[in-house]
Symmetry: D3
Subunit: 146 residues, 6 copies
């Protein structure tokens, strides 16, 4: 999705929903391989099956990675700045399908050139349970600075 | 690294340094493929070469993913709970080598069963520049609850 | 890019240009692994270096795969139907950056429900040389059938 | 399979059948990652489950990529030249096993040095349904030119 | 696991057990892609289903690769030297979970600087069947040489 | 390469040379991800650059995996049985191109149904240095048992 807006053009209160994506066994295996995180909760079905989760779970940061990509837009006037208040609320099991409910919850001028836009991410699974919540902070160029 | 300590056994002020890992072109390509984030800053050398960065940069969440895996330990009494104050301070270029300077900066009892341990991550590159800073929150079991 | 148009809403003569993507050594290695095509022109630097190309070249169908993904839109009223007149005109070397010049060149009603839209793909590298040309045929729903 | 024949040594009417390969969920996930095509029909089980297909389907160009690799031979006298009449006839579901029925259907001299050999691909699944049909054009060196 | 011991500090008779890891369909697909081994026993469910194994089996060298990684430690005084007596005893099916029973079975001085330590690997699945047995030889620095 | 011979049809003294393959940075990154072996010698350019090797080296078992795949044939009468005398003789650096010099060095009847064929692998790089030597043991069906 292309979205080339400046800081002034984004409004607090905007809401939208992203496409969904299924977090497959292959995604978990591939993310283990990219990150290097082979914790038994993710790659050992016997161990995970005997745990409180009952089966393997996806890496929390895989869920974040997919959620951030689902929400990402091509905006040459905006850059990822950081995250706040990130909480892994419920596990994502292999085969769950997640999407992101996004809301612009805050804006604040940071400098003559930039403003910070806060997007709240409510990452939900196919049962409409929140699995991950966080606030993504993006730096937007101010139009009068451009 | 195995580290099976309970909440009471972790002390504020502990510090250590992880192994390093080089963030290669292949890692960036693979992370694009796992996450689905094919932003031109990461996968288009012509676009990125003409940008303020001068060449392709690694995804911020790839840097986080590698940093978290470098720091991860197998502790059956601890679970990732969330992140706070995450800031992407400097870009990581293809070929940079990162490691994490970790410090336990806070502890607080959360319930009869759990306490929260805060680890500050200072992710640094081969030139000792900070590229990513964040606080990782982990839930540790309390030993008297066990 | 979202583009939910029906057959009637697409016009012969429309033209646009996609984002670019660099075809890296990692892409060629990964495509060999996905497809199973480990021909020495793609994975043996000694063999390819002694060939008429002078170095390894990307798989033609990797170039097609990337081109098609760069052009793909999310349109629930359209489906890939086929390709015609596909020619691999010039090799793509590792590190080349490609994009697609797209033009709608033909439309024809196929049934009460569908029409065929022909998009000509001119896949070009960073030196503006055509490396792949083809006609992609898509089935579009007719709006009066919907 | 090694097959070092010149143009003159290939006969119209030759037929053979390739090995088979199962198109797994992991293949679809990996191809999405290599190509960059994360359309919901391929990676969102909820969306695809509610569609006319009833579940996720493989990318058409993944089917083509696997088919072409199954058929590929190491012939230093032959090069991929293009494709004609490519049609995606039926969807390939995750777990389907495909192979290619190949037939040499045409030959034509192109220059003093080269001739074009046309191989018809009939890509079939485990239920002997055609999922993809196309004509692959290869340039073969002429033996008297060698 | 960090284990920075010298040759003299390792004792014949030491035994331990590694973590486990499930050998998934995605691992087999990915290993086929990395190695280039697309034998139908591993990637063709129809062929493998009709074979004496009844379904696809993991590559023997994937089982070895995972076993060796499960056992690997970071010891700057030790290096992989070779393997002896490697036998693939039983097939590993997709979804099986393996771990390694390790025992130091031999030590011998090789030079003033190095000694050879032999570790016997008994790779077992979730049913406690041995699937792979081998002797891994490692070169350890002698402490008096350091 | 298809090679459907029985035990009796293989002769001690046969020799051949496989195709080559370049062991790229992407292969090393991908093998780390598949195996789970992220030792700093393979993935940390700073650490490896300061080591006796001077730069990152490929995993020994990646070299074995590629070598075995280069040599593999589709023979329904033969199965991998094991390895003997495997020695990692020289490191393989990123970008080196390897191939295998194969020789049948031994045959012995094992049972009424099977015989063991020993193939010596001399894995060499582009400078004709041996990097890995081993004996691969294969079980071949005896033709009179078939």
């Amino acid at each position: 999705m292309s979205d080339d807006r400046y800081y002034e053009e984004v409004d607090v209160g905007e809401q939208w929903q992203t496409d969904g994506r299924t977090v497959t066994e292959a995604d978990v295996v591939n993310y283990a391989g990219v990150s290097g995180d082979f914790h038994p909760y993710h790659v050992d079905a016997e161990f995970a099956g005997a745990s409180e989760f009952g089966s393997r779970i996806a890496h929390g940061l895989l869920v974040l990675s997919i959620a951030a990509a689902l929400e990402s837009t091509e905006n040459e006037h905006a850059f990822m700045y950081g995250f706040e208040s990130m909480r892994f609320v419920n596990p994502t099991m292999l085969g769950d399908t997640i999407h992101v409910e996004v809301e612009v919850t805050d804006k604040s001028v940071k400098s003559d050139a930039y403003g910070v836009v806060t997007k709240h991410f409510d990452v939900r699974n196919q049962d409409d349970e929140t699995v991950l919540a966080c606030d993504k902070l993006e730096l937007f160029e101010r139009s009068d600075a451009a």
